[in-house]
Symmetry: C2
Subunit: 456 residues, 2 copies
């Protein structure tokens, strides 16, 4: 078993550890970029530091996937406008192969140089983290802490990152709500090795609290996992980890330790679902799938996902209130195209619904209720009395999800941006209509396959 564990790790590292050639190429490119940045600063008579930050600099990146951030450190006397302006100017000057503008707390340049993706990030150069202006100002301190404490355990960090990728919970962005690269580094620093991390994780409980130093957080955290940032004790590095990502982490640690397997790191790719496979599944489940499709052309993932989640939940609650029940659903979002998916237990409701009135012995309400419903054409049966109350059976207004949403989507709890988008246009796709492109066919394959990986 011990041997198996070692064998698996060695095999995984063969695939994820960058080769000498890749390292040399990366080193060459970063040196060029640093020089270009320094030239750009000098030509503007600007005093600012230039540093490579991120997994590339810490040597914890996974082959083919380095995360190269060029941090331009300005003095705190620089105005915010100047900082943003110079950041963009210098970024564009470095980006000889082209760039796009990304948006975090400020806009920044995402450049391509020598085949690598490089972010050019302006920030304030600070003495300590008590002065923090924005999240990126903290990054150089993270860099320093990891450099001082990781002690040549870079491969352990690589194993952990790839393991979390395999489990689908690597990354703190709001689409994944998983574990960031920095959190992987801290866990290895705290527990020792990749396997030591998993040994600890398998026994975690909701509310686990981890500190790497003697300092403790001054505030309490409500997230399932709290890992106190050693460079800023007010901050929970695991704040983005959702309950489900936390639970998947625990579950996959247990599975892997029970039977170590390379598939945990590189799970099998599911093939996209074709129409005949879809029909076979539909026949087994006898549910009905509805997708509400619309465009959100201008939203980046971290803005779009929380809004899509809110809209999905809002529609689910509204459907439930109208008598429709769903087994579950999911959110598809790909470059501005959104599909809110609902798997309905019942595709069509009966035309009649029960509506309860007041107790018979409360005379005033009783009279009002009877006045309203006696000889009313929406009443199919009643008013009659059941359990001491008036009851009528009314004609139901909407019998399908489609009828309901087409008439009432504006009354669903959702974000303004999504309501605006739906007002412009939305489609309701049913069952096989959802298989309209490869990306959706893959999404639906994963939707139905939804299973925790197991390595035996």
């Amino acid at each position: 078993m011990k041997n198996e564990l070692t064998r698996v790790q060695i095999n995984v590292l063969k695939r994820i550890r960058p080769s000498r050639g890749e390292r040399e190429r990366l080193h060459r490119v970063t040196q060029q970029v640093i020089a270009a940045a320094q030239n750009a600063l000098a030509s503007r008579n600007l005093k600012a530091t230039v540093a490579v930050i991120g997994s590339a600099a810490r040597d914890t990146w996974i082959s083919g996937d380095p995360d190269i951030d060029i941090f331009i450190g300005f003095d705190t006397s620089t105005s915010r406008e100047d900082l943003e302006r110079y950041g963009l100017e210098i970024g564009k000057e470095i980006a000889v192969e082209g760039f796009v503008i990304g948006f975090a707390e400020h806009p920044y340049v995402k450049a391509r140089c020598g085949g690598f993706a490089i972010d050019v990030v302006p920030h304030y150069r600070l003495e300590n983290t008590r002065q923090i202006f924005s999240a990126v100002d903290r990054t150089p301190f993270h860099q320093q802490f990891v450099a001082e404490h990781l002690d040549a355990r870079q491969d352990e960090v690589r194993l952990l990152k790839q393991f979390l990728k395999g489990a689908g919970i690597y990354g703190a962005e709001l689409r994944t709500k998983g574990v960031s690269g920095y959190l992987c580094e801290l866990l290895v620093i705290k527990f020792g090795s990749f396997v030591d991390v998993l040994e600890s994780v398998q026994d975690w409980k909701v509310g686990t609290y981890i500190s790497l130093t003697s300092a403790h957080a001054r505030n309490s955290f409500t997230s399932p996992l709290a890992v106190i940032d050693p460079v800023d004790t007010n901050r929970n590095v695991a704040a983005a980890v959702s309950l489900d990502s936390f639970s998947i982490f625990i579950d996959s640690a247990r599975s892997f330790l029970e039977s170590p397997c390379i598939k945990c790191f590189f799970p099998q790719q599911i093939p996209p679902l074709d129409a005949s496979a879809f029909r076979a599944i539909a026949k087994k489940r006898k549910t009905t799938l509805f997708g509400v499709k619309f465009d959100l052309p201008d939203l980046v993932d971290d803005i779009a996902y929380p809004q899509l989640e809110r809209a999905h939940k809002g529609i689910l609650i509204a459907l439930l209130r109208h008598g429709f029940s769903a087994l579950r659903g999911d959110i598809y979002y790909d470059r501005g195209e959104a599909v809110l998916l609902f798997e309905m237990l019942v595709s069509q409701l009966p035309a009649v619904k029960r509506h309860e009135g007041p107790p018979v012995d409360s005379k005033r309400h009783a009279n009002k209720f009877k006045k309203k419903y006696v000889y009313n054409p929406v009443v199919l049966s009643g008013p009659y009395i059941d359990d001491g109350r008036y009851v009528v059976e009314l004609r139901r207004k909407y019998l399908t999800l489609r009828e309901y949403l087409e008439a009432e989507f504006m009354n669903v709890r959702s974000s303004k941006a999504i309501l605006r988008a739906m007002e412009k246009e939305f489609q309701i796709l049913k069952d096989e209509e959802l298989l309209y492109n490869d990306s959706m066919r893959l999404f639906l394959a994963r939707y139905f396959d939804k299973t925790l990986y197991n390595c035996d």
Copy 2:
């Protein structure tokens, strides 16, 4: 309005007050029956009183429907066996036109004499109601109280009885759970007239407590209406009145006082439902009707109804637990033939159902759950994690009420007699199959028409 109220009452009384001829016929027959009973006692050397009791004796019966009870009063020194034996012997001797044996607290003879139905009831002759052996021993005291207090208001009692018949809540038997004849008499004694009773009833609340004397009940009653028996303060004369009968009483009192109308006393007969009318209703409601039909050959109504209600409720709860939901239902029972009716909102469930497991962070339970469901063929999706818990989507065992009940009826909460009957044979009838005879066609017509009568 006042004139309309009077006019309606006069018209109703024309139809329900017995004619002189009917009274004379009744008088003749009761005299013959009393003489026959006295002869039968004399020929056996038995000392017992003979008295006519019930609505016939109190002159509160409705034309065509007298309730003639011949009470044979034995001394308390008589043994219970002798009392029952002599009661049956004398009853059979009176019943020159034939008889059947009825069952209340003891068996008794239901005879036909001169075209009238007569019950021959043996009882103990008591000094006062503190000595009560069984319910019938109390009856002569009721007779005496009504005779002393009704003061020529027999027509008011007739109006109230016919009004309650119109509303479907006359009679204390367990099929109706309504208002007994004696309770009608007490209400008229208490409030004055038929209209005075309704004036009071329209403002009743659940928990109304009425006493005709200064004496109050020693115990508290949980029924919606308590009317203390003036001859026995331990007893609630309205104990049988269900919450729904109580509510219908209030509702119909209000409707009648608002617009007095002869139809309240003699509601229109609904025609039985034919297949084409059924199809029209089904198209409007889009529900599915199921009837569970079986025979209960040996049970009188008062025994059968509570058991049928329990079985109906037991099946409803079991269906709900298995994911089926019903709009409502009803119970049909006619001479030993029972149909439990269920109107289902959904006729067929999807094949998949959600099954929640333990939270991921409770390791022992988590391992057990995963061991059970990983690679289990009943699992359609999962195990996956949702809200920190393991979830699997399982193949549902039963997709229709028919499949469920045919396999599991023995596990439904029900009475032994009904389970035995169903074990012998039961049928599940769906939609139009339920229209198998006139009595069912009428039952279903009433089921769908279920509306409080309104007199305008």
